[in-house]
Structures are given as structure tokens and as C-alpha cells.
């Protein structure tokens, strides 16, 4: 038997699968599921209900799921372990919040910065955004150059606590 804990929209489902048996939060579910194209479209059949679900793994352990007009994120963990605690907010790193161009970097390594101070300006789709310091500190490293095109979630600048 294989157990999975799935968390979607703050709801948790413990799913056990063995051969053709499926148990969700203790309820036996009669089901069948086909993969319809190789890009993630699935049809889930349950008694009196067929559901189209488009599944995309977007990063480790997290699915993007389009189902019944909803766009959901599902975290799947093996076993009925508790959902991993969210990593404590790292106040010393500035990641790119979107894909786009780094237009300007206002600081250099060693600069003292205050919380809320603008460190970089990023541009995407003609929109400019200030990226601000999440906490006060000293600029420890700058990992990109002005003019760089970056993906979303790239570490741009890291700060060391002041003092």
C-alpha cells in the first residue's frame, strides 16, 4: 500500500492506494483515471461523475491543477507525514518576483541599507518594479548585473544583518 498526503487550498487529504483500491480520508472511493494526452490532461471517473483535470508538476512536490474552472496548487507528500513547515521567511535574500530585466542596481557590496530601501529595479512587460530590502542590513553579495534577464525566483542580492 502507498500513502500520500495531499494539501490543496488548506485542506488535507490522506490518500491510500493499493491495486485498484483507493481510500481518501478513510472513505473508499471507486474510481478510474486515464491520461489523455502526454501533456497532463487526465479524466478521472467516479460513479456518476467524470472530471477533467489538467495536471502540471511545477516544482518539487507541487502540482498546478486546473479542474472544474479552478486553478489549484497541490502539495503531495509521500506517507501521512505532516506537511513540511514553510521555510522561515528569509529576510536576508532578495529574489526576483517575476521574470524580467534587471534595469538598475542601486547598491553595491558593503552598502548599509534600511528596511524598505530600494535595492534594484526590475522591468517586465513594460512595467517597472522596485525591489526593496526586506530588512535592514549590509549588502553581502550581488549576483546579477544590470541588464540581465532573469527568471522568476532567482536570488539577486543577499544581505547580512547589521552590526
Amino acid at each position: 500500500m502507498a500513502n500520500y498526503r495531499v494539501t490543496i487550498a488548506n485542506r488535507t487529504y490522506d490518500v491510500s492506494i493499493e491495486d485498484d483500491q483507493l481510500v481518501v480520508n478513510g472513505d473508499h472511493i471507486s474510481y478510474d483515471m486515464d491520461s489523455l494526452n502526454d501533456n497532463g490532461l487526465h479524466i478521472l471517473r467516479q460513479p456518476n461523475r467524470n472530471t477533467e483535470a489538467y495536471l502540471e508538476p511545477n516544482r518539487q512536490g507541487v502540482y498546478d491543477i486546473q479542474i472544474e474552472g479552478n486553478h489549484l496548487s497541490a502539495e503531495v507528500l509521500s506517507g501521512f507525514q505532516s506537511s513540511s513547515k514553510k521555510a522561515r521567511q528569509d529576510t536576508g535574500s532578495i529574489h526576483s518576483p517575476m521574470p524580467g530585466l534587471i534595469v538598475d542596481i542601486m547598491v553595491k557590496i558593503g552598502d548599509r541599507v534600511k528596511k524598505g530601501q530600494t535595492l534594484l529595479i526590475q522591468e517586465a512587460m513594460k512595467m517597472q518594479m522596485k525591489l526593496r530590502a526586506p530588512s535592514s542590513g549590509v549588502v553581502k553579495s550581488i549576483l546579477i548585473a544590470p541588464g540581465s534577464q532573469v527568471e522568476k525566483g532567482v536570488l539577486l542580492v543577499s544581505l547580512a544583518p547589521t552590526g
Partner: protein, 496 residues
């Protein structure tokens, strides 16, 4: 006849569709980032005009005109955005002997500068928002506050359009802070950093009037649109007719727009934009001297193909239509599908379209440039598709648009589809109580997905991962691009 479309995305396809129907051959221009874009294959010919950066391609007048000449085009359609409001572009095109499908360059010069546009509107007898008709110089903010203009104010790009380059300032401090950013944005988007101030009209409705002029003083009006649903001054949902207008107000606003068009001897398509305040007073704000993003709602209620009329007028020089031929039927609403993530403050998203299913059936129109396999990048505007619904009345149009949005499936990147549905199903929207600040304090009615839906999603996800784990490792046809098998396996095993 060979027409070059100096644009990209859905509007390039939109224009080429009409050309294909008219038997006009088409030329696409594209940047290096767009080498596989749909508009390049939809066109009969396609010319690469430079690097991804707009200033090196879609905003580069000389590159575009060189392409037009080399390929033997005899007309240029600028679409919206990019160079569409740039009088130098129109002038250079006409100097090169090309038919420019838009207003005369001198008209564009007047209207493209929002400040001289205000003067022109005043002279035509239109009520204009208070505020100086001068641009705002750097560090001049303190001076401006002395003018008969009170906070909050909007900082706007004089060369602007499409809601870009607009910032709100509620105080002198905020004004000082946003001026620089607004100027930078204006420069980046329009190649011109001139900005000016305008009062913020609260609880305003955005109502605009579609006109078509022959350049000789004849102006046909295709009715009005209400575009009050905006996010950061970017229209999100537009409809025709405006649900709030009384018949006499409709006559008043459309006649004002026609009068301005007549005074300007306006040529081609244009949109005269107004703000309607709580007392149903109309204020002129600006004229967009080109096709608008939201033109399909007008097409659906009037039955006219505006791009067709625009092209035929430019080619023949004559406007055979009469105002008495313009009739209205039902209501139409457009929703803009954006590559933006509503759950992450509408930051742009990007990715490859891994799955696509577009809506259909009665009363549904899809204007997109999407195809499965296409890469959506962050280089340009986030508008990736428009969904338009028509119905015999507004409620039917709303119901259809909701139905269409529920059918639309775009895999590979996050969009605003769910957010659009939430707006449409909200009570204030349904009863037509919409203002330009509607979205500022918008909270969706629904309490998130139904439990049965999250349960189904959980089952699907668990089954999917279970099957991945239990399939023979060597099976080749499961090794898709999407799947980082190794990473997954690690994640899964660690929890076992």
C-alpha cells in the same frame, strides 16, 4: 495590395484575419524573441526586424520602414501600443509612399500629446478635467501643488496609452517619489518621458466612444463602451453598450465625440475617452488615435468589422457608410486574459503553453495568438488572449462570458482566468455598479473551490504520482519535458 502589420500578438492576428478575408496579402514583422510567434506564420511573409527589446524592433521606425520597402508593402497597420500613436511613424510611412492606416500625422501629434489633446477638446466645446496643460518638469512637483489641482492626482505619460505609465500620488511626498519612476516607465514604453498631472476622479466610470472619420469632416459613431473595470489603470473587462447610460446621456456623449472628430477633420478609427463622475458629468480625458484592445465588443453589437472599415477607408479614401446604417443589437463583454498571477499580486508569468483548449459555442469570440507549444515570455505586454461574449441582453452576455471563461484551459503558465470569473460573478458587477476603483477593494464572493473539487484534485494528484512511481523506469514515453523525474523521485522517497 500588400499590408505590413507593425505589431505582434493577438492584434497582429486580428488585423491579418480581416486582410485574409479581403484578399490582401500580409507581412509580419517580428523581433528575435518572436521568431516562432503565430503572427509570423499567419502572415504571407515575415521579416525579422531586430532584438527582443522593443526599442530595437517594434519601436524602431527605420527598421520597420526598411522591411516594408524591401518586401514591397504598400500599406502599414500599426495596431495598438508600440508605434501606433507616434506621429513620426505615420509621417515617415507616408513620406516613404506607404498608406498609413491611421489618422494624419498632424492629428496624431495633437492627440498623441495628451496636453495638446486637452486643448483641442476644450476648443471643440468638451468639458475637460481641470489641471495644467503643461508637462511636469523634474523636481517641479512643489510648484504644481500650487495650481488649482488637489490631491490625489494621477501622474500620466503625455505620450501614453493602454494605461501604461500612470501613477497615483496622494500627497506631495508620494508625488516626488513616483515622478521619476513614471518618467522612466514612460520612456521605456513610449520612448518619451514627458509626464503631466490630472486630478483623480473618484467613483468615476470610464466611458469611451468609437468614431471613424473620413478626414474630410464626416464622422461615423459606433456607439460607446464602458471600461471601468481596471487594475492599475489597465482595463480588464469592457462592455458595450455602457449599462449605466440613459438614452439622453448616450446622445450627449456620442455627439461630443463626433464634434471633436469633426473639428479635427479626424481620419480613421479613434476612441474618445471620458470619465463620468457621480453626477453623470462627462469629462474628456484623451483620444486614442488607433484601434483599441476592446474594439471587439463594438463589433459584436454593431455587426461591423472595424478593421475592415479602417482598411477600406485608408485604401479608397472614401467612407461610404452613413450614421443611419449603424444599428445596435444586444450586449457584448470582453475579458482580457493576461499572463499574470492574481495570487502573487499580478506579477507577470511566463512559460510554454503546454495545453490549450479555447472556448466555443454560441455568442463566443476568441481573439488570441496562442498555440500549444508557444513560449510566452516576459518581453512584452502580458495580454495573451481576449474572450468576448455577446448576448441579447447584458445578463446573457455575462452568463456566456462566465461560461466561456470556465471552458478556457491554458496549461503551462498561470493566468487571470479565475480572477476574471470572480469579477463577473460578483454582485456589484452583475448589477452594473462598476467604477474605476471597483477592483481596489474587490473581494471575490466565493469561498474558494468546493470540497468535492479539491478532493477530486487530491485524488488525481495522488494517482498521478503513484503511477509515476510504479511505472517501469525504462518506459521511454513517460519521460516528458515537464517531468523532472529525478527530482521528484528524491522528494517522494525521502518521505517514505
Amino acid at each position: 495590395m500588400k499590408l505590413l502589420v507593425a505589431n505582434r500578438g493577438e492584434i497582429a492576428i486580428r488585423i491579418m484575419r480581416t486582410c485574409r478575408e479581403l484578399g490582401i496579402s500580409t507581412v509580419a514583422v517580428y523581433s528575435e524573441a518572436d521568431q516562432n510567434a503565430l503572427h509570423t506564420t499567419y502572415a504571407d511573409e515575415a521579416v525579422c526586424i531586430g532584438a527582443a527589446k522593443a526599442s530595437e524592433s517594434y519601436l524602431n521606425i527605420s527598421r520597420i520602414l526598411k522591411a516594408a520597402q524591401e518586401i514591397g508593402a504598400n500599406a502599414i497597420h500599426p495596431g495598438y501600443g508600440f508605434l501606433s500613436e507616434n506621429p513620426q511613424f505615420g509621417q515617415a510611412a507616408e513620406d516613404a509612399g506607404l498608406i498609413f492606416i491611421g489618422p494624419r500625422p498632424e492629428t496624431m501629434a495633437i492627440l498623441g500629446d495628451k496636453l495638446s489633446a486637452r486643448k483641442a477638446a476644450r476648443e471643440a466645446g468638451l468639458l475637460v478635467l481641470p489641471g495644467p496643460d503643461q508637462p511636469l518638469e523634474d523636481n517641479q512637483a512643489e510648484i504644481i501643488i500650487d495650481e488649482p489641482l488637489s490631491f490625489p492626482v494621477l501622474v500620466k505619460a503625455a505620450a501614453g496609452g493602454g494605461g501604461k505609465g500612470i501613477r497615483l500620488a496622494r500627497s506631495g511626498n508620494e508625488l516626488n517619489e513616483v515622478v521619476g519612476l513614471a518618467r522612466e516607465e514612460a520612456k521605456a514604453a513610449f520612448g518619451d518621458g514627458t509626464i503631466y498631472l490630472e486630478p483623480l476622479v473618484q467613483k468615476a466610470r470610464h466611458i469611451e466612444v468609437q468614431i471613424l472619420g473620413d478626414g474630410k469632416g464626416k464622422i461615423i459613431c459606433f456607439g460607446e463602451r464602458e471600461c471601468s473595470i481596471q487594475r492599475r489603470h489597465q482595463k480588464l473587462i469592457e462592455e458595450a453598450p455602457a449599462p449605466s447610460l440613459s438614452p439622453s446621456e448616450r446622445v450627449c456623449i456620442t455627439e461630443a465625440a463626433r464634434e471633436l472628430g469633426r473639428k479635427l477633420f479626424y481620419r480613421s478609427l479613434g476612441t474618445v475617452e471620458f470619465l463620468m463622475d457621480e453626477n453623470s458629468q462627462f469629462y474628456f480625458i484623451e483620444v486614442y488615435p488607433r484601434i483599441q484592445v476592446e474594439h471587439p465588443v463594438t463589433e459584436m453589437v454593431t455587426g461591423f468589422d472595424l478593421v475592415r472599415e479602417q482598411i477600406l477607408l485608408a485604401v479608397t479614401g472614401n467612407l461610404d457608410l452613413e450614421q443611419s446604417q449603424i444599428h445596435f443589437r444586444g450586449a457584448a463583454i470582453e475579458a482580457r486574459i493576461l499572463a499574470e498571477d492574481p495570487d502573487e499580486n499580478f506579477l507577470p508569468t511566463s512559460g510554454e503553453i503546454s495545453y490549450l483548449k479555447e472556448p466555443g459555442g454560441p455568442g463566443i469570440r476568441v481573439d488570441s495568438a496562442l498555440y500549444q507549444g508557444m513560449a510566452v515570455t516576459a518581453d512584452y505586454d502580458s495580454l495573451i488572449s481576449k474572450l468576448i461574449a455577446w448576448g441579447r441582453d447584458r445578463q446573457t452576455a455575462i452568463d456566456r462570458l462566465q461560461r466561456g471563461l470556465s471552458e478556457y484551459q491554458i496549461g503551462g503558465l498561470k493566468t487571470d482566468l479565475v480572477f476574471l470569473k470572480q469579477i463577473l460573478e460578483s454582485h456589484p458587477y452583475q448589477i452594473g455598479e462598476i467604477t474605476t476603483t471597483f477592483l481596489d477593494d474587490f473581494t471575490p464572493d466565493d469561498q474558494g473551490p468546493a470540497e468535492s473539487v479539491t478532493r477530486d484534485a487530491a485524488i488525481a494528484a495522488a494517482l498521478h504520482i503513484h503511477r509515476k512511481r510504479n511505472q517501469p523506469v525504462s518506459s521511454p514515453d513517460e519521460a516528458g519535458n515537464l517531468w523532472q523525474q529525478t527530482a521528484w523521485k528524491e522528494q517522494i522517497s525521502s518521505g517514505n
